[in-house]
């Protein structure tokens, strides 16, 4: 059997900016209340145009689980590592809190967790995925902005979305090859 390659595909056109995902993530992952402590976020992209001709998009995002992984490269203790499925995780017990990964991340996806006493970030909810459940942000979304799945399975929802619609990725100039895809 081929290895799985996990990814999240987002259809942000549907996003209501309702913040269900951000709150769900906090409970699911013991992320404490705090302005700097969050794994995922929903950005209101700048308003385009002038009254009354306006346009606005909302952009939920999180750790990009880059294939070319800036955080993993600079981690001195292998606390940050990649699973065989390409999910970038932190082994909290190995983190020395040097914060090099936070400085290296082009997506500002990491923060210091008081709960783990380590740097943490989105895990694709691997503890749920390993039980056959969906990541919390995927599950709770009213309009299903995010789909999670295996890129190596041509019939997965993520594969079908990517094969049927054009998409973009965040900061392609950094050559990080994210596992987050934004269909257009």
């Amino acid at each position: 059997m081929e290895k799985k390659r996990y990814a999240i595909v987002l259809d942000t056109k549907k996003c209501l900016n309702c913040k269900a995902c951000t709150v769900a993530c906090k409970f699911e992952n013991y992320v404490p209340v705090g302005d700097d402590t969050y794994r995922i976020w929903v950005t209101e992209l700048p308003l385009q145009g002038k009254f009354p001709h306006l346009h606005q998009d909302f952009q939920p995002s999180q750790c990009q689980h880059c294939e070319n992984t800036p955080c993993e490269k600079v981690c001195p203790t292998k606390a940050t590592f990649k699973t065989p499925e390409g999910v970038v995780l932190v082994d909290y017990e190995k983190c020395i809190l040097c914060k090099a990964c936070m400085t290296a991340c082009p997506y500002d996806a990491r923060f210091v967790s008081e709960h783990h006493e380590a740097v943490e970030k989105c895990t694709f909810c691997m503890h749920r995925v390993s039980e056959g459940r969906e990541p919390a942000c995927v599950e709770t979304c009213p309009v299903r902005v995010r789909e999670f799945g295996d890129l190596n399975d041509p019939n997965s929802r993520v594969s079908r979305l990517l094969s049927s619609r054009p998409y973009m990725q965040l900061k392609p100039e950094k050559n990080t090859r994210p596992r987050l895809f934004y269909v257009l």
């Binding site: 700097d36 402590t37 600079v74 001195p76 203790t77 040097c98 090099a100 380590a118």
Partner: protein, 396 residues
């Protein structure tokens, strides 16, 4: 047995001529403040005491760490020149060089030790789970080796039975090489950060080494002026003269490097690198840059060195002082400027709060206290040594 004690006694005397007491006292006060800072970190936690944030995770302590350890390797470089490459003018300074380098490096270690959330984990994980492609591992290895070499060198130099000059020369050479490796690698610790193009390229590894040497020279010029109450004896004239020249040369190279770094970061507006340079030129760090970096670290010391024609030792001491102050800003700006361009714009919902499109960072009182710990440790230990140790090595 008694001879050994006698031998040890031969190293010690009370140097009443050296104005060490005020520095020891100042060092002690700073140390106490620093220890209060340490207590705060232990009881309140890093996050509560330090001013660093999610978006600017590295702040004053990384800057002061760099400030100390780079100066230390600069000293080691000068020491190595004396020991290994036959720059005899520096040979007479060797005890102070090695001692200074060792203590300054220790001061640096206090900074990184307090900066890391789990410093003890680092110690054993560097052995159990080292990630050799991470520059921080090499930073740990190189600076660790450097400390060991300097420690050994101290033992050799302060051997009551007399100095083994051959061994000292080998160790001096190793300290020079490892020091250069450590400091240039420190540049790469920043250069390896995908998110921060301001740090990328050859500039910082080079600049850090050169500015470190200048810093070593500056510290020696300053210390000799202090120790001899601005009346450095004839025997050190040549050494001081060489230090002045070395420092002048290094500052000139620094100006050259900085000029092209700034220009190359401006012309094509390369995103974050451009934004970072703008924070220096006319952004939140402009005063640090123009007054601290340009005036105090480059223009003023170079001007003083030129005026002194590398002869007026007092003037050179003054150049050393302004340079060391300016270098503090230089290190701070280097760390902070690269992190001010945000990785995500401060749009609503992003969780990022920007001021004029930039992140912001101000060192907290706790971070200053930890800096005082390092500075206090340096002043206290070094001037205690000046007071009680015989540091005027006989030339060899």
């Amino acid at each position: 047995m008694s001879t050994r004690i006698d031998n040890l006694r031969s190293l010690i005397r009370v140097n009443r001529d050296v104005p060490a007491i005020p520095f020891i006292a100042a060092g002690f006060v700073l140390l106490v403040l620093g220890l209060i800072g340490v207590a705060r970190v232990i009881f309140e936690g890093h996050e509560a005491v330090y001013g660093v944030t999610r978006q600017v995770p590295w702040g004053l302590l990384i800057a002061t760490y760099a400030y100390f350890v780079i100066t230390s390797t600069g000293l080691a470089f000068i020491g190595g020149l004396g020991h290994a490459f036959g720059f005899h003018q520096f040979a007479g300074l060797s005890k102070r060089i090695v001692l200074l380098a060792f203590i300054v490096l220790l001061a640096g270690f206090t900074q990184i030790g307090m900066e890391l959330g789990h410093p003890f984990r680092l110690m054993y994980l560097l052995i159990l789970s080292p990630h050799f492609s991470a520059p921080i591992v090499w930073m740990g290895i190189f600076y660790g080796i450097e400390l060991a070499i300097l420690g050994l060198e101290l033992l050799v130099i302060f051997n009551p039975a007399g100095t083994n000059h051959k061994l000292a020369a080998i160790l001096g050479f190793l300290a020079l090489v490892v020091g250069v490796l450590a400091t240039s690698n420190l540049g790469f610790v920043f250069g390896s950060l995908t998110a921060r193009p301001f740090f990328h390229g050859i500039y910082f590894p080079t600049f850090l080494v050169v500015s470190g040497i200048a810093g070593g020279a500056a510290l020696l010029l300053l210390v000799y002026n202090i120790v001899y109450k601005f009346n450095v004896p004839e025997q050190f004239k040549e050494a001081m003269n060489s230090l002045g020249k070395l420092m002048g040369l290094c500052i000139s190279i620094m100006i050259f490097l900085s000029f092209w770094k700034v220009l190359s970061s401006l012309y094509t507006e390369p995103q974050e690198a451009y934004d970072a340079v703008i924070t220096l030129l006319r952004g939140p760090l402009y005063a640090n840059f123009w007054i601290g970096e340009v005036l105090m670290a480059l223009v003023l010391p170079l001007a003083l060195l030129i005026v002194s024609k590398a002869r007026e030792i007092k003037t050179m001491g003054l150049a050393g002082l302004t340079f060391l102050i300016g270098m503090f800003f230089t290190r701070y700006d280097f760390i902070v400027a690269g992190q001010l361009p945000p990785m995500r714009a401060g749009n609503e919902g992003s969780g990022v709060e920007t001021i004029n499109g930039l992140m912001h960072y101000t060192p907290s009182s706790g971070e200053w206290m930890i800096f005082f710990l390092g500075l206090g440790l340096f002043l206290f230990l070094y001037f205690l040594s000046e007071r009680f140790l015989i540091l005027d090595a006989d030339a060899h």
